[in-house]
Symmetry: C2
Subunit: 197 residues, 2 copies
């Protein structure tokens, strides 16, 4: 039975990337999942996807129209999720936010940690499952961590975000300081604003 995997509404880079990464892992483990999104990528995420030559995920407005079960990443609160969340079963959650306005009828897999980024937790899921992360996906996950932690400078950044970020940079063969600044700059859209002014 196919399941959809998605992050929150008004997706940021972590919401898009953690869904792609967790769906990849679940499919490697034998599940049939598709990473989708609840909105179009923002400027920063567009830069990230273009940089790693990765397509934007399909945007959905209903889950129940397609599946009976879903996996949530980077959120859990119903008001941040798909509008018909109550009509489907949540089987997995990977998140780094507080838990609120979230309820299930059945036991589920829920992995949350108070770290800077959902993609940091997805990395740990790959590790414990013993599944290798392809270079492109590592680049995307690194981008999500840089985005959520503002290049490891936000107060929510943990030692684990930094350690895992560096490991992903190695796998992706990316100079994370240089790339990170370019990426954050693309997100603020300074370049195009300067041109337009």
């Amino acid at each position: 039975m196919k399941e959809l995997v998605f992050g929150h509404q008004n997706p940021d880079t972590d919401a898009i990337v953690a869904a792609k990464a967790y769906s990849y892992l679940q499919n490697k483990l034998g599940k049939d999942t598709e990473a989708v999104a609840l909105g179009n990528p923002n400027e920063e995420t567009k830069f990230v996807l273009a940089h790693f030559n990765e397509p934007a995920p399909r945007v959905i407005s209903s889950a129940k129209a397609e599946v009976d079960a879903v996996m949530l990443v980077d959120h859990n609160e119903a008001q941040q999720s798909v509008s018909d969340l109550k009509d489907v079963t949540v089987t997995h959650v990977i998140d780094h936010h507080r838990i609120a306005n979230f309820e299930t009828a059945a036991p589920l897999y829920y992995h949350a940690e108070p770290v800077g980024c959902s993609s940091t937790i997805v990395y740990k899921e790959f590790e414990s499952a013993g599944v290798e992360i392809p270079a492109k996906l590592a680049g995307l996950m690194l981008s999500a961590i840089i985005s959520d932690t503002l290049l490891f400078k936000s107060p929510t950044t943990t030692k684990e975000d930094l350690k895992i970020g560096k490991q992903l940079a190695k796998i992706a063969n990316v100079d994370y300081e240089k790339y990170g600044l370019e990426m954050l700059k693309a997100g603020t859209n300074l370049a195009s604003k300067t041109e337009a002014e």
Copy 2:
């Protein structure tokens, strides 16, 4: 800052044992925690504690009277927890039940899986932390899994419960089939009833 670790009201063997096991692990990892309980052990749990020469945990009726932060095992629903749960911060949850009536103000560590027993999940926490389980604790955790899965026969039993149960039996050097039947019999209190009749 000390934290209390406890299972649900009217504790069963898993509620008592998972608290003891997770508190042991957290202390090994440098935290200052104490496993307590929200009620006295039932007949089955008394048998288990006596068998492994382990004291019953201290019973509390308030968390806030002692600490600012707590870790929950084997439950998450507020109505099953300590009466003043809303006055303390939940930093960790290890559980195998649905999520309902649970809300936090801040991000936390939450590890739930749809398996037969919380102690199965605690075992995985030991594994990923690389911490060894002492023989006595392994015997207690095996008892919790036998209790929750009715000796691996309940419909909630997973392959992982069985695999981990067998590994714990090996560490504890316990014949789990023989011990498990004795333990479940102690729980039904057949022996004492027969004597009394």
